[in-house]
Structures are given as C-alpha cells and as structure tokens.
C-alpha cells in the first residue's frame, strides 16, 4: 500500500464502482490539495456524481482507496463515515434539498445543530452567513415561499456555515438561470478562498470549470487528458435515412 502524499487533503487511488452492474467508475485516481478548488468535468453520465459520492464517503467504492488527511475512508464503518461527513464535509446538490418544514435560518443552522452546537450559537452563525450571501432578509421564511436561486443560496450557506474542511458541490448551478448562476458560484468560491475551504466541484460547463484552480476531466468513468470529442457530423443519420427511403 502506497502512503498518500502529505499535502493532499483527499487522495483517491484507482476507484472502481458500478451501480447494480452498470459501470460508473473504471479506475479513477486523483488528489485534492488543501485549499484548492478542483473541478471534475465531463458530460452527463460520465461518473462525476459517483466519484463525488465515493470521495465524500457516501459510497464505498468496490475497489480502490480513498484517504482523507492520511486517514483511510474506504475502510471506515458507516457510523464513522457519517460522523466524518457531518464534521468535516459539506455537500451541495443540484437541487437545494432543504428541509421543507424548517425556515431559512433553521435550515442553515441544521448541520451545526446536528453537531451539537448550542441553539444560540448556531442561530448566530447561520444568520451571519445568510447576511453574507444577501439572503438575510428571508431568514424567517419557509423554503417554498422563496425563489429557486434563493433556495440554492441557502443550500450554499448551509454548507458554508458549518465551516467544513471540504465542500463537495455536485452541479450546484444546474437548475439556475445565468444571473443566479454567477452569483452562487462567486459567493461559493470567494467564501471558500477566504476561509481556506477546499472545494470539489462537479460540472459539465467549461465556463464554470474555468473558475477552478485545476480540472480533472472524466469520460465514461475514466480520467482522460481532455474531453473534447471529435465533432459529430450533421449528416450521419440523414444518409442512412435517405438510403431507406
């Protein structure tokens, strides 16, 4: 077994995984350095989400190793992985995935409350982060009364408020319009840089990937040098059609 490099906060070696037999990852290795923003790019279905699930301990890869700060994640039991996720990781999904019963500040404070922080302290931190993300005015509203962009910003605030070591953002702006998209990404990246939080960002958008320090392109569950495919000629299907007519 090779010891992971010291300056990598997350380090993965030859991850293989399949969902009920359908292959998702075929031997991906990567290292995430402390404090960097790493973009995992590739088209839909190339294994970005599965890779993020494996790195964040939500899935145990069928083969391969995942290390976090020189601690093996792939050998941990479910309870330890849960705790690791709660204490050190943040997760931003394409959907806001807020708890509909809780209002905005309660949703933001939830990770802190789950860690056992006191009510007052959690509320103070949550309100601060909501102010920073320009949604302080709707701190007492329920998620269903807000706009999609505002809800996604709450999800970002929820991930940031717990000041995790690593935030995994899986297509965080996929359901947003362009103006909301830049706003969400700007707040996420600037907050991460100012607080030294590492971000692993999965995206299929080259524009978003340009914000990252480094890019890891994936294609069909493998790490490749580039995802630029030869352009498909327009007439490929038509010729076949015209033959059959």
């Amino acid at each position: 077994m090779v010891a992971p490099p010291d300056n990598d906060v997350i380090w993965a070696r030859s991850l293989h995984h399949s969902h009920n037999g359908s292959p998702a990852l075929g031997g991906v290795s990567l290292g995430v350095r402390d404090g960097e923003i790493l973009a995992v790019t590739g088209p839909r279905g190339c294994g970005k989400t599965t890779l993020l699930h494996c790195l964040s301990g939500q899935l145990v890869p069928e083969q391969g190793e995942v290390w976090f700060n020189s601690v093996p994640v792939h050998t941990m039991g479910p309870r330890l992985r849960e705790r690791l996720r709660r204490d050190r990781f943040g997760w931003i999904a394409p959907e806001p995935q807020l708890v509909p019963e809780l209002n905005t500040w309660e949703n933001t404070a939830l990770p802190l409350l789950l860690r056992g922080a006191s009510h007052r302290e959690a509320k103070k931190t949550a309100l601060e982060w909501l102010e920073r993300l320009d949604i302080g005015t709707c701190a007492r509203q329920r998620p269903h009364t807000l706009l999609q962009g505002q809800r996604q910003r709450i999800a970002v605030a929820r991930a940031l408020a717990a000041t995790p070591t690593v935030i995994f953002a899986d297509e965080p702006t996929a359901t947003l319009h362009r103006s909301d998209r830049t706003h969400v990404l700007r707040t996420l990246t600037s907050a991460a840089r100012s607080h030294g939080i590492t971000i692993v960002l999965a995206t299929h958008d080259a524009e978003i990937a340009a914000l990252a320090d480094r890019t890891v392109p994936l294609l069909d569950g493998r790490r490749v040098a580039t995802v630029a495919l030869p352009a498909v000629s327009d007439t490929e299907g038509r010729a076949a059609c015209s033959l059959s007519v």
Binding site: R79, D87, P96, Q97, V99, E101, L102, L114, H144, R151
Partner: protein, 394 residues
C-alpha cells in the same frame, strides 16, 4: 389488466396491505350476509333485521377508511416517472387506484360469500360443513340478488372513495424510482399546508356528544337501536351522543397533533427536537384524523368493557367479529397513514442523510414524535372513556 400486472410485480409488503384490505372486506361482507340471513330467517322481526344491518355500518365505514388509506400509500397509484412517461396522468392513476381497490375488495367479498355458504351447510365436502347452521339461519333460503347487492357495497364504496381521495389531492412530485438516480428536473416538494383549524370544533362536538349521552342516559332507557345479541339496553340517544363524540375526536385529532408538534419544538430546540416537532406540525393533518378515530374507537371499547365486561357472556360471535374488524381497521389505517407520511418525507430524509445526519438522530426524532402523541392521546382516550361510562354506571 394493468392493475393486475402492477400488483403481480409489487413488493410483498404492498401485497400484504392489499390482502389485509381483502380480509377486512371479507369480514364486512360476512356480517352483511349474516344480517341478510337473519332478515330472511325471521320475517316477523323486521326491526331487528334493520338494526343488524345498521350496526354493520360501523365496520363498513372502518373498512372503507382503511381501503382508501391503503390506496393512498400504494406505490403503483402515485404519480411516478415510469407511468407518466407513457402518458398515465393523475386522472388515469385515480382510475387505476379505484380498480386495484375494487379488485382486492371484491376478492374479499367472494371469500365471504363462499365462507358464509360453507358455514351454513350450502356447500359441502369440507370440514366444518354447516358448523354454524343455527346461528346463520340455514333453513331459510338466501335471496341471491340481495346477497350480491350487499357484497358489492364494500368494493363500490372503497373504489369510489379511493378514486376521490387520489383525485382530490394535488399532483404530488414524482418520486425518483431509486435513490441513486439524480433527477435534475425534480421539482421542490410542495409547500406545507396551513395548520389545521378544526380543534375548537372538535372539542365542541366531543363535549356536545358527551352531554347528549349523559342527558339521554338519564331517561327511561327506551331502546331504539339496541345492539343485537347481548347489549340490548343501549338507548338511541346514548349512541347518537357517542357518534358525535367520535366525530368530534376525529375533527380535533389534527389540531391536537399540531399542538403536540408546536410544544415539541418550542423553547430553543436542538436538531432532534426541532425536526420532530416541525415534522409533526406538518404531518398533523395526515396523522391526526386516523389517530382521533383510533382514540374514539379505543375509548368506546374501554367504555363498553367497563359497562358490559362483567356480564357472564357479554358478546356474541358476530359482535366480536364486528368489534375486531373496527379495531383492526382503524389501527391499520393509522399505521398506513404513518407509512404514507414516511413515504412523503423520503426525499427530505435522504437529503438529511446526505448532510451527514446520523440515522440514529432520525430514529430519535420519530420516536420522540410517537412518544409525544402517545403522551397526549392516551390520557385523552382514558378521559373520554371514563366520561362516557360515567352516566351509564351511576
């Protein structure tokens, strides 16, 4: 045909729920047939026959409520991507739910007919042939059209009820078929409903029912609607009072559950108390009504036991069957509603787990909810049963 195909491939638990509906429907069908047999066997006692038929309404209502609750939790009748992709919208799904419910209820009714004929001795060749010929008035012929009409009542009512229940609710979000699929177009869960407002009405109805019962039980004990069999001396007014009390509890249930949730999340809650309380507040409508009904049924059972439990042979076999049906159906309805609430919150639970919330915290929240409801509703049941039995025992 689609209903049958979907039933064939469904989970054993779903099939078990359907089987329970069929069993309840069989029980009610049996009771209805017994009432019919009594009517054809005793033409002189027509009032008694009508009375038996009327008493069948209670298990009938409980069974229909259970069938509707099962139809609401049925995975094959909720909007889902697989069926909506082939163009089955909410209307067709309501029809599908009605057909599935009708199928299971009809199955139960057929079993009831066979069992009834068998016990009467009309069908031979099996053990217990004609074992209950005396009880079931075997000497009188059974009018077949009447029997078929009575047996069709449960399937028709349950099918109509489930179609209406599924049509009435707004189109809920299609749940992803498995947890691993990340559906990008998944809409956010619909907003929570307004808090229930029925608590004052429920309390007023319950109080009025208890008052009517106390007032009527003072009278000369005229028995207009005596329970056939043993419980002969129940005045009609008392029963009307009981019906009002039960309705009041069913109306007050959601409000009480909401109040429980509100108290649970009050005063600087931690994560578990916050989640438990808020979820209870939002689920109060779904959970509260069956809980109120169970509360009323249990109070009635406790009061009946206090009044008649000491008699040497208090209940006849058919009364026991009816009581078991009512108790079983209302309890099963409550459990099914709890299951429905859990299904509706599945996505939230997934999101919480993704945040790293420990499974134990979610379980603790569920246990806390159940405990809060128990703490409020158990003394309430005891109080109502005591109040209901009080005027009849003194």
């Amino acid at each position: 045909m689609l209903a049958l195909r979907l039933a064939r491939g469904s989970h054993p638990l779903v099939l078990l729920r359907r089987l329970l509906v069929a069993a309840a429907s069989a029980g009610v069908g049996f009771l209805l047939l017994c009432a019919l047999g009594y009517a054809s066997g005793h033409p002189a006692h027509s009032a008694g026959a009508v009375l038996r038929l009327l008493w069948c309404l209670v298990p009938f209502a409980a069974t229909v409520q259970f069938a509707v609750a099962v139809a609401r939790t049925d995975p094959s009748t909720r909007p889902r991507s697989g069926l909506s992709a082939v163009g089955l919208g909410p209307v067709r799904l309501a029809v599908l739910a009605a057909v599935s419910t009708a199928v299971s209820c009809t199955l139960g009714s057929m079993v009831a007919l066979l069992f009834y004929l068998h016990l009467r001795g009309d069908l031979s060749g099996l053990p217990f042939d004609g074992a209950a010929a005396g009880l079931l008035d075997a000497e009188a012929p059974l009018p077949l059209p009447a029997a078929l009409v009575l047996l069709a009542l449960v399937p028709l009512a349950a099918a109509a009820g489930s179609a209406f229940a599924l049509r009435a609710e707004p189109v809920s979000t299609a749940a992803p078929d498995d947890a691993s699929s990340e559906v990008l177009t998944e809409p956010e869960a619909p907003g929570p409903t307004a808090p229930p407002t029925g608590l004052p009405w429920g309390v007023a109805l319950t109080a009025a029912g208890l008052a009517i019962e106390a007032y009527m039980s003072r009278g000369d004990g005229r028995s207009l609607l005596p329970l056939p069999g043993r419980l002969d001396a129940t005045p009609a007014g008392v029963l009307a009072g009981w019906a009002l009390t039960a309705a009041g509890l069913a109306v007050a249930g959601p409000g009480l559950a909401h109040l429980c949730g509100r108290l649970l999340q009050a005063a600087r809650p931690g994560a578990v108390r916050l989640l438990a309380g808020r979820v209870l507040m939002d689920e109060s409508r779904r959970i509260g009504r069956p809980l109120g009904v169970v509360c009323a049924v249990l109070a009635a059972a406790a009061a009946a036991y206090a009044l008649y439990g000491t008699a040497p042979r208090p209940l006849g076999p058919l009364t026991v069957l009816g009581a078991v049906l009512v108790l079983g159906c209302t309890t099963a309805t409550l459990l099914t509603s709890a299951l429905e609430a859990r299904q509706a919150r599945e996505q939230t639970a997934q999101a919480l787990l993704r945040l790293g919330a420990p499974v134990s915290a979610l379980r603790a929240a569920t246990a806390l909810r159940a405990a809060a409801l128990l703490i409020v509703f158990a003394p309430l049941t005891w109080l109502i049963s005591e109040l209901a039995a009080l005027p009849l025992t003194v």
